[in-house]
Symmetry: C2
């Protein structure tokens, strides 16, 4: 399988060791270039690089909407991604203004969007039946081949009102979300009537990504954090956690969920 | 419990919803100040802040060793940490030179240490019996109260040759490692005869932390990545993954493990 490399291991137990072959995820350092200048590097699985860069820059407000993108090109080796776009220069400058190490990611993400929130507040009137979410969560709970082989990837899936679904996997939970939403937006689709599922914990960066993309509902198999809840309450995101075994816990704005 | 906040939730299943109380981790944005200047912020659980800042700056090579630290002070609200120390100015400048979004953390961490590696190569002759590791892994596998309540923390434990153990928990796997190793080093202990256990995946940043601290062995309950293996092979770190159920898989330098 792509992005997976065979590694020779020694498996030790208390009394013996045996040589064996195992599979590990093959992540790379991928360079993002914006309008001809190196923007940053991201440790990532080299798939969906076009969706990744688009999703990331849209979620940071550096690119206002997909129509501002002129071109995206991925180098033959997959390790460099070039995007040409009309950018919001102040958002671009702010990207590295506040240096924050987050629980999962880092620069930008939290610092950059706070100025924009007032106009980005999510007032979407999209509602979805709990049965739709639970069915989707059940599908989402199935392990993918990449996870089965490596035990080392997060996954995100954006489900539109039509049922059309955009899925992505990556070693980083932020990356998987950027890729899934980025793909839908590159396809010109309206994501304001959709919900996002993720395997990763929901901290503030995740709700901020939803606000910036105007995705009204996000649900995780995993836990949510207090800052995740606070930002979701404040900015209008429906936040669900521990979506497992036929149940979902909602921490904010459950009014969008129909029983 | 500290760092845990009660949240009111609505638990939906297919047919009903019930209000309930749940516990969520209460992470904060904590400011790190070095010699009177704001260095960065970190989303983190506000515990062990002194060990956290020390462990982070030592692992980045900004502070060469604990004796270079003059003082560490934590503000009364726990959200600001002030360290005064003799620093390596070039390492400090490099901290934000290469902007890398990693699978779990970000600036610094990977970019900063590469210049230092030649002199930091780990040639420690420390060896440890597999039984010691498996016993420690079994203890480590027990869930902590904080994890039981929130399902939302990573953990790290540094075990010295004497058996003395330094443990820490945080929402970030990097933070937990910084706190555990930082505490041991603040106590003036020699960590070159120790092993580190973590609940987080072992990517390159983790092996780099071990190299910089001269911790020769790192073992995770979770997976390792290809870049984790490559850096461990290259820089002399013994790397073990999937430490569960009486077994550990070794991916690099298993010569330090005695059966």
């Amino acid at each position: 399988m792509e992005f997976v490399t065979q590694a020779l291991i020694e498996r030790f137990d208390r009394l013996s060791k045996v040589k064996a072959a195992d599979f590990v995820i093959n992540e790379s350092r991928i360079g993002f270039y914006l309008n001809g200048e190196k923007l940053l590097s991201v440790m990532s699985v080299p798939s969906d690089q076009d969706a990744h860069i688009a999703g990331f820059l849209l979620s940071e407000g550096v690119i206002e909407n997909p129509s501002a993108i002129k071109s995206i090109r991925v180098s033959d080796d997959g390790l460099s991604v070039y995007i040409d776009a009309n950018v919001d220069e102040s958002a671009r400058k702010n990207l590295f203004k506040e240096k924050t190490l987050t629980s999962g990611c880092c620069v930008g993400v939290t610092g950059n969007v706070e100025d924009k929130i007032a106009r980005e507040f999510l007032a979407a009137d999209y509602k979805v039946a709990i049965g739709v979410l639970l069915d989707a969560a059940q599908l989402f709970a199935q392990k993918t081949p990449l996870f089965e082989q490596t035990g080392c990837v997060h996954r995100a899936a954006l489900v539109l009102e039509s049922g059309e679904t955009f899925s992505a996997e990556d070693i980083g939970r932020h990356n998987a979300i950027d890729k899934a939403i980025g793909r839908a937006r590159l396809n010109g689709l309206d994501v304001s009537r959709s919900f996002l599922m993720t395997t990763g914990r929901l901290s503030m960066e995740m709700t901020m990504k939803c606000v910036m993309h105007r995705v009204p509902i996000v649900i995780s198999k995993a836990a949510v954090t207090l800052q995740g809840i606070r930002s979701a309450l404040e900015y209008g995101v429906t936040l669900g956690g521990f979506a497992r075994n036929g149940r979902i816990n909602f921490y904010a704005h459950s009014g969008r969920i129909i029983v």
